[in-house]
Symmetry: C2
Subunit: 325 residues, 2 copies
């Protein structure tokens, strides 16, 4: 089956809890931290009531593409356990084809403990578990070659084997004449893997997704205007989200800006970037103008930040129709 | 720590999905069926999007008691897996002390696939897993002796070892001069274990909880009035829920009836009986009149059937205050 988009990324079940700013500060949490099994246990013991919702950045994006009516596939690795079954079930019923290879025999399905503060900021604490087992053997060449866009989750740029898996997928997509997109995911990804990540971007990436902080870090520029100027000189397209200030698409000399979607209330920013990418990629693979792609991105992001969890609760296709997009 | 109520019951994570009546009928589902691992897998494959919420009848009741401000404990068995950790976490943060003994080394944490139809009826399909490992060694005598009421979940009257655990708990409670309550749970429990269950009720039970269908089955009477007359002749108190018709408390010659609480919308009846028992037991252990106990039961049941899932989402204590109870 031909896909609009296939993503390769971490298969993670989110454990989402409300927390106060003091707790998050005392724990020294950032927007995203990788943690080990001991820290996971200790943090979970001190967290409050949590809801379990399937997540993972690239997977969230694929669910968004499917919710808009697009055809999406996801490549990620779960453990051989009940959470893994739940993960596979939820992505399937969301309309996304899941290609996980064999579940990891040794490592449990990944969990991310996400603390959401009253100002709707989220602090992710991720134990990667089975995700670190993903390797090139999990990349099905046919699935990659069949998709108009390969969407690589930056978080997955992590272990030598996952990098090999990504390079393999990028190579197959290139050979098939498809577009390769990358989400920068987090500043720490850029910091931890600067050299080989920038090489990947230079050699393989056609469309780059990132927020303002990530783009500043990547370009090494002190402000957004300088970073944007730098990106205009690249042959790749850059899609930069700026939170409440909307988003900017830079495609060679052409720059388009769209505002954020108005929303009834801001509840949880988890998944904002993922769903922006979903809207954009749905539009991109359906022949929309770049401005229209970005407006679809803003629409999808607006839905997901209006409630807890990083996957849409409403039908994005219905919202799209209602908005006349 | 002295408890108002301690319950012994099944520790189950609910997987709750909406379903249409045709699917439920085609699958031949009843209000509650025990299923094996193969059937669990096959059903899950054909279910839609589900939310995971900790459940288990007796545990739901204890969470309700705690939400009203009471002191509650729960004895149940999970598996040595992530769902078991989540289960223990959720009951703890709900304010209930959890005494599970050692997690089962061989069997996974129980799950119940609950399909909710548009008329808010629920169809439970439960794979008991680790719950079947509960035995008398899991019953801590101090916890039982410390609680004003022992609340036995009828579903737990299942295996020879769990019956032994219940008899042990009932014996300790009796010796400590405490009250022993039993929830009938489901008609199939009465049908499957009629002889030893009626012996348990006759010898050990001070307060019986059941719905109309269960009480008819237990007494063998054709209508509610005859069943009620039969129960007035018993030395135990009977608390009978009648759905939208409210509830009746029969205590020797005295009979009190209360109406159901008005609710904005009926969404999912899962947990209605569990939360009725919670309100009743909170009132009972706080010196309230039987009518007041039953009104608290109706209040708590009304909250839980207004949303998906069998555990309260609102603070029952705040609702109690607001209702002037």
């Amino acid at each position: 089956m031909p896909y609009d988009v296939v993503s390769i990324g971490n298969a993670i079940v989110d454990l989402i809890a409300k927390a106060d700013a003091a707790f998050v500060a005392a724990e020294g949490m950032g927007t995203m931290q990788l943690i080990d099994a001991d820290r996971a246990k200790s943090l979970y013991d001190r967290m409050g009531h949590a809801v379990e919702i399937s997540g993972g950045s690239g997977a969230n994006t694929m669910v968004g593409v499917a919710s808009l009516g697009g055809k999406a596939a996801f490549i990620g690795k779960v453990g051989n356990d009940k959470l893994g079954e739940i993960y596979a079930h939820e992505i399937k019923v969301a309309g996304v084809d899941f290609f996980g290879g064999t579940p990891s025999p040794n490592l449990p399905t990944a969990v991310s403990m996400i603390l959401v503060t009253p100002d709707a900021q989220r602090y992710m604490n991720t134990y990667l578990g089975a995700c670190t087992d993903l390797g090139p053997e999990d990349v099905d060449p046919e699935v990659i070659a069949d998709a108009d866009v390969l969407y690589i989750e930056g978080y997955q740029w992590n272990t030598p084997r996952s990098k090999e898996a990504i390079r393999k997928a990028a190579g197959i997509a290139k050979q098939a004449g498809k577009k390769r997109a990358l989400s920068l995911s987090d500043v720490f990804v850029i910091d931890s893997h600067y050299d080989d990540l920038t090489a990947l971007i230079r050699d393989e990436i056609d469309i780059l997704f990132g927020n303002e902080a990530e783009v500043l870090r990547l370009t090494g520029k002190p402000d957004f205007d300088s970073a944007a100027r730098e990106l205009t000189s690249s042959k790749m397209m850059s899609v930069v989200t700026r939170g409440a200030s909307g988003a900017v698409v830079i495609d060679g000399g052409s720059v388009a800006a769209v505002p954020a979607s108005p929303i009834p209330q801001l509840v949880d920013t988890t998944g904002a970037g993922d769903l922006f990418a979903a809207g954009f990629l749905y539009g991109y693979t359906h022949g929309r103008t770049l401005v229209n792609c970005a407006l679809l991105g803003a629409l999808a992001a607006g839905e997901v930040i209006s409630h807890m969890g990083a996957r849409p609760e409403a039908s994005l296709r219905e919202l799209m129709t209602k908005a006349g997009l």
